[in-house]
């Protein structure tokens, strides 16, 4: 085969395999995947890549190989800074290496690079002992929330929308309310965690090195205002009601679910509901109402 007629496709598949091989260039060249494209001993690399007067062909390939994981790892560390702090740099690096091999980057944008990281951690969770929550669960929750922050930050928002006003809500007659359904903001997310991961993440982003917190059921309402992600803790009762509304239940049915849940005393419900709806409207959790 003449040099020039060597198939460009083979050369690219070979090079990509070699520079992304976790064990280094020589192991990459020896790998079955690379051998199937270009059968080659690593001592013969110079038949493909030239040497310079100061570097061997192996060293030159090594520049690309070294940069491959370093660059992607740096990018993941930026997105998952709290996870890095919780796991430690070394463990994070090791998990990232595994992740990048299992979920090869395929997108044109780096925004998608870490998209499957929480899922990857879940898939690699060690078998739980006696259903007990452990450190791994905490890590998965940190990763999950950090990814949600990224998605809410750059995804569709409500900055250009006309928001619901008190006038609109006041125009709804009391007897109409049970039939009303609410349209949530596209940036609204409702999340439940076993640990207060939101606080942990905030501490890390402020430059601190917080301790791993005690387990504590944590419900969060997340949205974006003025292009900044906001999160607030909500009670379990609020979480239940909001999740039913998010599922598309009308206000009446959602309240019935809450009343049947034992999460609060029936006599408390009336005053709380008014307060909650007022706040949720101001916080723009929902952006529209429709009367059936």
């Amino acid at each position: 085969m003449s040099n020039e007629s060597r198939n460009l496709d083979q050369l690219q598949r070979w090079m990509q395999t070699v520079i992304s091989w976790p064990g280094g260039v020589e192991a990459g060249i020896d790998s079955e995947a690379a051998q199937s494209e270009i059968p080659l001993e690593s001592s013969e690399l110079e038949t493909i890549v030239t040497a310079s007067s100061r570097q061997t062909s192996l060293e030159r390939m090594g520049i690309y190989a070294n940069a491959y994981y370093a660059r992607l790892l740096e990018c993941l560390s930026e997105e998952y800074s709290a996870l890095v702090s919780a796991m430690g740099k070394t463990a994070f690096g090791a998990f990232s290496m595994e992740y990048l091999q299992e979920y090869h980057p395929t997108s044109y944008t780096l925004c998608d690079l870490g998209a499957h990281f929480p899922q990857f951690l879940t898939e690699h969770k060690p078998p739980a002992e006696e259903n007990e929550l452990n450190w791994t669960d905490f890590l998965i929750e940190v990763a999950t929330l950090e990814r949600v922050y990224s998605e809410v930050f750059d995804g569709p928002g409500i900055e250009q929308e006309t928001l619901l006003t008190a006038e609109v809500l006041n125009s709804i007659q009391p007897e109409e309310w049970p039939e009303v359904t609410l349209k949530m903001a596209p940036c609204f997310r409702l999340m439940q965690f076993q640990f207060p991961v939101h606080e942990f993440i905030s501490h890390v982003r402020k430059g601190n090195s917080p301790q791993i917190p005690e387990q504590q059921l944590t419900c969060l309402a997340i949205t974006r205002r003025n292009y900044v992600v906001r999160r607030e803790v909500v009670s379990q009762a609020e979480y239940l009601l909001l999740s039913k509304l998010q599922q598309g239940l009308n206000v009446g049915d959602a309240i019935t679910c809450l009343a049947e849940s034992d999460l609060m005393e029936p006599e408390e419900l009336g005053t709380k509901l008014h307060k909650w709806f007022k706040h949720w409207t101001t916080a723009a959790f929902f952006i529209d109402v429709s009367k059936q």
Binding site: L8, Q12, Q16, S52, L72, Y108, Y149
Partner: protein, 309 residues
């Protein structure tokens, strides 16, 4: 006869738009001639990056610079990506769209690196064909940049400069001449950077890039992490004389200093644009790093971290 810069305007001295400078630019509206954006950071954004870009595009000319076109790959062109590129260009009135003479991945993958191709007749035909398709889709000439590279292939039968010249002529595209990349590659591959610049068809050069790099002793890496060094300024001067001036932009992507420092660095170009001015004063000295593997990583694109309150 081709018009100089393929008819594009000489936008003056610009700066690569980076997230860390968003606030400064919006608040101080600095007197910068133009900005270049990394296209991939904005084409899907519906959040703050896009919102900031729209405000900046209202006030300054914008050029789109991509890192994922992968024009040299044997994978099919990503039509969805090209469509988004075109939509963004229209919405911010981008003056032109550029990317690199490279491939970024194959078999559906993206290494997020600018990988070199062998320079020979086969790859030339391959690129020319693809550039023409891209230009048809974008309905405008594509502007392609010479990359920094760290290896060369036995399969190459011509020099990079010859390849780039022929590619530009045959595909009828524009060139983004990165004089720092010419310098980096000339050291790594031991060729004469002056001859390279002299060979480039001047009227096809639409834009120029300036940047700093890292000297790793045995080779240079295009890290965009500092000032432009004198030999690169000299290449810039030569390019300027040959083209009679093109839109010039400074890239600074790692250890990014405050905006005024970056802006000041590109303004130094003025000294090299007037032949009557002496240009030799405080030279920016190049440092050699001792453990290059940990620090010297080229970053074609960057990740934008979410802001959370």
């Amino acid at each position: 006869m081709l018009k100089p810069r393929l008819g594009h305007e000489n936008l003056g001295l610009g700066v690569g738009l980076r997230t860390v400078h968003f606030h400064h630019i919006l608040e101080h509206q600095p007197e910068v001639d133009w900005f270049e954006i990394i296209s991939e950071n904005f084409m899907d954004s519906a959040g703050r990056p896009r919102h900031v870009l729209e405000q900046i595009a209202d006030r300054y000319p914008i050029v789109m610079h991509g890192v994922s076109l992968s024009i040299g790959s044997t994978d099919p062109l990503n039509r969805e990506y090209l469509k988004k590129l075109k939509t963004l260009a229209e919405s911010i009135n981008a003056r032109w769209i550029s990317d690199h003479v490279c491939w970024t991945g194959v078999a559906g993958r993206n290494t997020h690196d600018l990988l070199p191709i062998p320079y020979n007749e086969n790859t030339l035909t391959h690129l020319v064909k693809r550039i023409r398709i891209v230009q048809d889709i974008l309905e405008r000439p594509l502007i392609l940049e010479n990359p920094s590279s760290y290896l060369e292939f036995q399969d190459s039968t011509m020099s990079e400069s010859e390849f780039v010249c022929r590619m530009a002529e045959e595909a009828d595209c524009g060139l983004l001449l990165d004089v720092n990349n010419v310098y980096v590659s000339s050291v790594n591959h031991e060729f004469d950077p002056v001859k390279y610049i002299e060979m480039i068809p001047a009227e096809r050069v639409v834009q120029c890039h300036l940047a700093g790099h890292t000297n790793c002793g045995t080779h240079l890496i295009d890290t965009h992490n500092g000032q432009v060094i004198d030999p690169v300024w000299n290449l810039f001067q030569l390019m300027h004389q040959r083209t009679e001036g093109v839109a010039t932009l400074l890239e600074w992507d790692a250890d990014i200093p405050p905006f005024p420092v970056v802006h000041e660095e590109v303004l130094k170009a003025r000294k090299y644009m007037d032949e009557n001015l002496p240009v030799r004063d405080q030279a920016s000295k190049e440092k050699t790093v001792t453990s290059p593997s940990s620090t010297a990583i080229p970053h074609p694109a960057s990740f934008i971290v979410a802001e959370v309150e």
